[in-house]
Structure formats: C-alpha cells, structure tokens
C-alpha cells in the first residue's frame, strides 16, 4: 500500500518535468536535451508477452537509463499496438495535445501508417541523436516502414525476417518453397493452419501466398492499384480456398492468434509454425515450450522481412526522456546485448560496421541458437513488404472470401 502511494506520488511529480514542447526540444543541442530529461520518467508501451524481452527492457535498458541519465523507465506491457494507436487518436480527438499517456511505442507497419496519416507522431528530431550515425538511412528497408517513408517520425530498433519452424524429429525434410508447401498441405490433411488475418503473423503468411500467386512481389510494389489487386487476389483466394479442406479442423475455423498456432505446433497438432522474428523459436525452445529438435528455415522463393521501430506520440509529455531512451536503444552496446541468443537474439537495426571494434567483436562472437535460422542465411532470399494499403485490402479480402 505504501509503495503504491509512493508510486502515485512519483507519477504526479513526474508530470512537473514537462517536455511536451517538441519544437523547443528540436532547437536544443543533444546535451541540453539530456539535461532536460534528467530525473524524468518515460512510459514505454510495448508488447509484453515475452519474458526475455521484458527482462532485457526492464533490466539492462532500464538500469542503464537510470545510471547514465537518471531517467526512470516505466515499461507498460500491452497485447496489441493498435489499441495504443487508438488511445493516442482518442486523446487527440479529445484535445489532449500535451499531456498524453504514451511517451514511446514499439510499432511498425499499418499502425505506423495510421499514426503518420493522422499526425499522431512526433517527427524530425532523429538527426539530434549521437547514435543516428549508426543507422543506414540509405537502406530502403530502414527508411521505409511497410513502404511508408519513415521521414524522421520513428527510430529503427530491430530487423526481422519471416521464417518457418518444424520439428526435425518428426518432419525431416520440409517443403522449401511455396509451391512445395501448398502440395505438402494437400498431401497431409489436418497438419497445417495459419492464424486468421488481421492477426499480424497470419496476415504475413497470406501475403506470401499473395506474392506466390502474383509470381513475385515486383509487380505489387508501389502505391495500391485496384485492378492489379483484383487480379492477384482472385488467384490468392482460389489457392487458399483450395487448401482449406486440408487445414486443421478442415479449415472450418482458424487460430485467432499466432500464440494459438504455436500451441498447436508445440503439441504436435500441426507440423509448422512461423514467425516474423525467428529468435522466438529459440526463446520457445529455451523455455521448454518446443522440443530441442525444432529447426527453422526460409523459403527458396524468399520470405518477407521488415524493420520495427520506436515512435514518440505528438502529445507525449516526456519527449526529452523518450529521445534519450531511443538514442540509448540505438547504441552498439544495447543492440549487441539484445542480439545475444540467451538475451533475445534480435537482429540489429544498425550497421555493425559503424560500431566500435569491441562491439563488432561482440557481434562476431555471438553463437546462434540451433533452432534459429541465421539472419544472414534468410537474407539471401528476402522479399520486401507491400505498402500498408495493400495489407488492409488483403486482410479485408481474406475475411470476405476465405475466412467467412
């Protein structure tokens, strides 16, 4: 009770050190911003379902933020970033412009597009970061988030690339391309399924089928094109409806989340799971959820990769502290720490070649988890993301044509 009261008091005093005025901050030097941020609090809303990611953030990151800058990190665990986009939107609609709830969000894709379109993001400050030089903004996969130009509205944190996982003890030789996978599904009734879009992971699986139907992503890049969409979508729904009777529970129902798919995979009900972040396979093996014989791989025709970011909402009252945190997350040391297999295994969003020799040596010494396909191997066949308008069209189309 006393601790709670103390926490309550802390919350109210933190509001006193207000750095809501982003324009004023942008006119300052980095040292001045760090001074402004000192003694403050930052409320970071992030997906909270992985204990090792939570431990990295609440441990390593929070400790360094406290010891180096005297900033308190309040990690706010959430289930879905869309709810937080909606929260900021509701605040804006209610006229809350400088006392918002959220200081930082872990975000990408459709949610980023929504925030940018509705002017919910604080933009144009990343040049101030000392660690901004580590970021290769010339790389289109960093400078664009699902085809939407980042424009200084968010800061990269991790890069990921989609991969499949299978149990090598029961399935020695899994199909290595999309055509092979579709044939395998029909030959092995009930042993495959995917989460129903708009689940993030289910949606990216459907996009792989969409690319396959289109004969590759090249014709789909660029702004949304209704005619092209209609042509490819018709083929995609035909493929997905054709395999439906061969899916888990004859396709009458789909898992609602990737967690449910993981559960089916762990218990041997289905032969595959898949994830945007292959590090999750290693984490699940370490936690005993999957057997140690689980292995992961990409497709010969490529898998989709993207970058995830952190973003400061326009109405954050603690922008200085959030900026200091973003800069810290970009540092070579923080990126190295989370790249370690026993910590998280997340691929860095910075150029390793631009970091210090010690950090480079640290990256070189990382031993990948045997269940996690190395990022370098996946990168040999990487596919770009489509622009967010394509994604929403594919998700809506799936619901109407396949998942009804």
């Amino acid at each position: 009770m006393l601790r709670s009261l103390a926490a309550l008091l802390l919350l109210t005093t933190a509001a006193a050190a207000d750095t809501a005025d982003g324009q004023a901050l942008k006119a300052m030097t980095w040292d001045q911003i760090v001074e402004e941020a000192r003694g403050g609090t930052v409320n970071w809303f992030m997906w909270g379902g992985a204990d090792n990611i939570n431990a990295y953030v609440s441990g390593y990151v929070a400790d360094r933020l406290k010891s180096d800058y005297d900033i308190t990190l309040n990690r706010v665990p959430i289930t879905d970033a869309a709810e937080i986009v909606n929260l900021v939107l509701t605040e804006k609609e209610a006229g809350v412009t400088d006392a918002g709830t959220v200081d930082l969000i872990w975000i990408n894709g459709e949610n980023f597009r929504s925030m940018k379109q509705a002017d919910l993001a604080f933009c144009g400050y990343t040049d101030l970061f000392p660690n901004n030089t580590l970021v290769n903004w010339d790389n289109p996969a960093i400078a664009n988030d699902f085809g939407v130009p980042v424009d200084g509205c968010e800061v990269p944190w991790n890069t990921v690339q989609f991969a499949f996982a299978h149990d090598s003890a029961t399935l020695v030789d899994p199909p290595r391309d999309m055509a092979g996978l579709l044939a395998w599904i029909k030959a092995n009734p009930g042993r495959f399924t995917y989460p129903a879009p708009p689940d993030f992971t289910g949606s990216v699986f459907v996009r792989h089928v969409f690319y396959h139907a289109a004969g590759g992503p090249d014709a789909l890049l660029g702004p949304f094109d209704q005619a092209r969409f209609d042509a490819v979508a018709a083929k995609t729904w035909a493929i997905l409806n054709e395999i439906e009777p061969f899916l888990w529970r004859e396709g009458r129902t789909y898992p609602t989340t990737v967690t449910q798919l993981n559960e089916l995979f762990a218990n041997g009900e289905v032969a595959f799971t898949f994830n945007y972040d292959p590090a999750q396979f290693g984490i699940a093996v370490q936690a005993g959820i999957y057997p140690e014989t689980v292995r992961s791989y990409g497709l010969a025709d490529g898998t989709i990769g993207n970058t995830n970011y952190t973003l400061i909402p326009f109405n954050s009252p603690n922008k200085a502290a959030a900026m200091v945190l973003q800069n810290l997350l970009l540092s070579g040391e923080a990126q190295l720490e989370k790249a370690k297999a026993e910590v998280w295994g997340a691929a860095p969003a910075i150029e390793i070649g631009r970091t210090s020799p010690q950090v480079q040596a640290g990256f070189a010494a990382i031993e990948a988890h045997p269940s996690v396909v190395p990022a370098a191997e996946l990168a040999k066949a990487a596919l770009p993301e489509l622009q967010a308008d394509w994604l929403t069209a594919i998700e809506a189309g799936w619901t109407a044509n396949v998942g009804n």
Partner: protein, 286 residues
Amino acid sequence: MSRRTRPLLLLAPALVLLGGLFFAGLGLGLVRSFRYMPALGLDTPDLAAYAAILQSGTFLASLGLSLWIAAASTVLASILALGTALLLRETFPGRALIGFLVQLNLTIPHVVGAIGILYLVSQSGSFARLAFAAGLVAVPSDFPPLTHDPLAIGIILTYVWKELPFIALILLANLQAIPPGHEAAARSLGAGRWQVLRHVTLPLLMPGLVAASSLVFAFAFGAYEIPLLLGAHAPEALPVATWRGFTAVDLMHRPEAYAMAMIVALVSAVLLALYASFALPRRARP
C-alpha cells in the same frame, strides 16, 4: 429534516456518483452512436450506424452467438446451482468443504477461470491427455473441439463453472429464509419429495433465481475477455466485435462500434425489466 427529504439526502451521494459516471458514459455513447461527433465533422445526428450494423451479416452472427452463449450458460448454471443449493442444505460428510469450495470459486477472477478451462478442455489439454492415456484418442484432433469452436462450448463451460456458485449461494440464502413449516406441512399432507420441491420450494425460490439469472445472463452476454481467450475466429462474440470496432484506427467506424455497445445496453435493459418485475417488491417494507 422531513421523512420525505431525508432518504433522498442519504441517497444523494450514490445517485449523483452513479448518475454522473454511468449515465454520462452511456449517454455519450448514445449520442455518438447517432453519428454525432463534431470533432470529426459529423454534426447531423442520424441512424446510419444502426442501419449499417443491422444489415451486416457479421453483426447479426455476433449478436446471435452472444445470445446463445448467455442463454445456454444461464440455463445450465441455474439448473446445476439449484441442485447445489439443495445439496448444501442437507447434512452429509464433506458438506463444509464443498461450502467452502463454492465460496472460494466466487473469489476467483473470470480470466483465471477461462485460462484454467482452456488448459483443461482444449484438444491438447488435460482431458485430452487423460483420453490418450485411456486409449480413447491417438492424436489431439481425435478429441472433440471444445475451445475456439463454433458452439462456444469452452466459453459456456467457463461461465457455468464461474456462475454456478454465485447462483447457488443466492438460492441457499433464499432457502434459509423459507420458514421450515411450509415444506413440513406439505410433507405431512402426503406430498412426496419431488412434489414438495415442485409446488412449495421452487415457487418460493423463483424471485431469487430470476434475479440471479438476470445478472448472470447480462454478464455472459457482455463479458469481453472470456470470448477473447476461448472464442473461434468467426463469428466473434458481440463484445469482442464491439471492442474491435473501437480499436479500428479509422475513426469513421466508431459510430458503428458505439451502436453495437448501445445494443448490448439495450439487451441489459430488457434484463433489468425482468429483474425488476420478479425481484423488486412493489413495497419493500410492509
């Protein structure tokens, strides 16, 4: 202070607080369900949001599913609760333990119950493993799908598990209030066990049972986190569909979400009327 104003003064804090919060929340929702949101440029109220959802197959399927969940849960929980209350009235070994367990269940949050049921009855859950050990199933898909299933059996099981004790305790309190003479008189007139139950005990329990069932129906109809954990991908329970509408980033979908919320409230209003006609005496203090 007159006898007329005193009760109103005593009631004022509760009525002001509840009125201020509850009716403000409901009222604002109602206004927005008529597509009146000046901040978004919607300044002519209309019924388009209601028209849109009432013509949508997804909404009707969600409404139907939620009504099914609530009805099935309420009927099952009520019947089992009646048995439990009658059982707990008797003296038998272990009665105290069961009485404690029934009360204990009341303290367990719904989310915990839902997760426990999931681990218990899913196709790879504890029951499926027992069935495997007994040689009844070879693989998880041989076990009947009880979670994420079209009939929402897992959701209903959770509500029955959680609400049975709630109804049973209310019925037990009512049973204890029945003067012992009533049932004994019927027995002495030659009525059998069943006849006493049917013609004496049940009618006396009815008001309490209807009141408790209304509360349970309202809860099972409107709870969000349980169908979220245990529901199939389509159709979604109405509260899940409503919440998805609120979190849709396109603000133009909000009036439809508010309209769905108002339909949830409307169903509760019907239950309130039912509750009132059975459980609220015309005059509280004779």
